[in-house]
Amino acid sequence: MIDLYRRLLGLLGRLEQALVVLLLVNIVLNILAQVISRYFFGKPLVWVEEIATYSFIWATFLGAALALKYDRHVRIDTFVARLPERRGALARALVFLAIIALLVTILPSLPGAIGIEMRRSSIALPVQIPSGWFFSVPLAVGAVSMLLTAVFKVLVELRFALGGERPPLIMQPLPEDHDDDDAVEQAMLGDRL
């Protein structure tokens, strides 16, 4: 059961990851298009900035949900790492309970926020799209995804705290940022100096 839950979250995570990548590419391309159209054709494209900004808001909230699955949100390490393993799991479960409490409190206020925004429309886009789609909707989508992740985390951490299996990872960590040995060899070109 829990394994199915983990796999579904992993699937959701991969979907979010693919969307975030597309959104970032979209931001880069739009802004480049803006630069090019201004320099080479002498006329700025007004709606380009708006598309880029909306992509950015979506990328932020999807990225935040994704970061929770990778366990990458910044926290200050105080004592949990020093606890015995299973008690540490209890402390982590408490953290995710706090996150659940927050999300459950704010989620009911989001339909209201979306409702207000739906009455306004995007400013410069060639088509009329209610602005809620670019503000509180991404926030709500991110919040729901984070809620699903946090519930999973509480379940697996508690299971571990009570003597069960070690909590599984939702997403495998990304490979390191650099090709270590290559980079050092190259930097130590110096040996030939």
């Binding site: 970032l24 900004t53 990225g63 390490d77 926020a113 509180s136 130590m188």
Partner: protein, 427 residues
């Protein structure tokens, strides 16, 4: 309406290791539900619309540029060039480390990219050459914060948006302080090597031909900051546009030199997406917190308290520095910035302190905070790479606070140093 409930809730949540973003938002929600008649909807709605800002878009772009630079092997080329220039100077690879950071800073916007990417190259090379790992880690930590002082800089974008000043001015204002920090760090390293406090095996002087060869190799990386600064100085493009141009440039160079593959590019994009999700989400999550602070008139109260102590701008700036350094000991950089900028702006305005100058002071101060125990993020990254204990890391770090704080004091009390470059376009 006791607003201190919010601060207590925040401290408790952070202490039990709730991620900063969630702790910021949750503590504000605690106050809003317990103490205030204002509907939650009104405040929550501001979270997403707070991100509706074109300057903020520079954040993912400069994170992506730094990530591409690491994965496209540009960091190593910069290092090799710096090595040919400074390898023979007393202090050798330690100077190389600082110099490489200064160059890398011209394309990277976050200290973490500098510490983790270039830092790995630097620490491994220093170990190979016989340097003490703890010392190497400390040099890398200290020099990595030059990254966000020299443009581009993600944290400066956040300050600029909060304080409503020009990102371009702030970027330009960071150039001279960045070189000053590098110079002071190099002076300390030279002195430490000279007095035998560190073992620093020097290398034979590189020939002109070798310098030339590594220069040509590093040229594409060296050209990126030139594009950025020219763009900023000429006002031809906004910092956000320059971010996209830098990304395109890094990609072209990476692909042309066959160092970048589509697989690596995809990894860079995923990495950037996660970092954006962490960092920018903190900005959104801090919106309700900032809103509660301002409806309770806390900035005004803070301003009158501090002005009650003195109305000399320099005394106040000194106090602000102490306050921020203290906050930097226990809190995370972005979170302090998000809370402190709105709280301190009225004070800066009342004393007619230039907001660009004020921004450089705050950013430099908070970056030093990211290298201080017990919670400095950069220390943890370095410990990990150098495989040393926290105690070793902190002990090796101690001398480096002298040049860093000295740079902070110079920047604080010599506004002309900071404002010289932005004035070149102002006039």
């Amino acid at each position: 309406m006791n607003v201190w409930i919010m601060f207590v809730a925040f401290a408790v949540l952070v202490a039990i290791e709730v991620p900063i973003a969630f702790a910021l938002c949750a503590s504000a929600v605690v106050w809003l539900t317990l103490e205030s008649p204002i509907p939650l909807t009104i405040v929550i709605q501001r979270m997403a619309s707070g991100l509706d800002s074109f300057p903020l878009l520079a954040i993912p772009l400069f994170i992506l540029a730094g990530s591409l630079m690491n994965r496209a092997g540009l960091a190593a080329r910069i290092f090799a060039f710096a090595l040919s220039l400074f390898g023979h100077v007393r202090g050798s690879l330690a100077h190389v480390n600082v110099a490489a950071s200064i160059v890398f800073a011209g394309m990277s916007g976050v200290a973490q990219a500098d510490a983790a990417g270039l830092g790995t190259v630097e620490i491994r090379a220093m170990r190979k050459a016989g340097f003490d790992p703890a010392f190497s880690a400390a040099v890398t930590a200290a020099s990595s914060i030059i990254g966000p002082i020299i443009p581009p800089s993600v944290i400066m974008v956040i300050y600029a948006v909060l304080a409503q000043v020009s990102v371009a001015d702030l970027f330009l204002a960071g150039i001279l302080p960045g070189f000053l920090m590098g110079g002071l760090l190099m002076a300390l390293i030279y002195w430490m090597a000279r007095t035998g406090r560190i073992t620093a095996p020097t290398r034979p002087r590189a020939t002109i031909g070798q310098v030339g060869a590594t220069f040509v190799q590093a040229l594409p990386a060296l050209f990126a900051p030139v594009i950025l600064v020219t763009g900023l100085l000429s006002g031809a493009a906004t910092p956000t546009e320059l971010g996209a141009v830098t990304v395109a440039y890094a990609m072209i160079v990476g692909f042309a030199q066959r160092e970048l593959t589509f697989k690596k590019l995809h990894l860079c994009l995923v990495e950037t997406g996660i970092t954006t999700g962490v960092l920018v989400f903190i900005i959104a999550a801090a919106v309700p917190f900032g809103w509660v602070v301002s409806v309770n008139n806390l900035p005004a109260a803070l301003t009158s308290t501090l002005l009650g102590i003195s109305d000399n701008p320099y005394v106040i700036l000194f106090l602000v520095n102490l306050l921020l350094l203290a906050a930097g000991l226990v809190m995370e950089t972005t979170a302090i910035l998000l809370i402190a900028v709105p709280a301190l702006l009225p004070l800066a305005l009342a004393l007619k302190i230039d907001l660009v100058h004020f921004g450089i002071i705050m950013v430099l101060n908070l970056l030093i905070g990211a290298t201080t125990p017990p919670f400095g993020v950069i220390l943890f990254i370095m410990m990990d790479i150098a495989r040393i204990s926290f105690a070793q890391m902190v002990r090796a770090m101690l001398p480096f606070y002298i040049p860093l704080v000295a740079a902070l004091l110079v920047v604080t009390f010599w506004p002309d140093l900071v404002l010289f470059v932005p004035r070149l376009i102002g006039g």
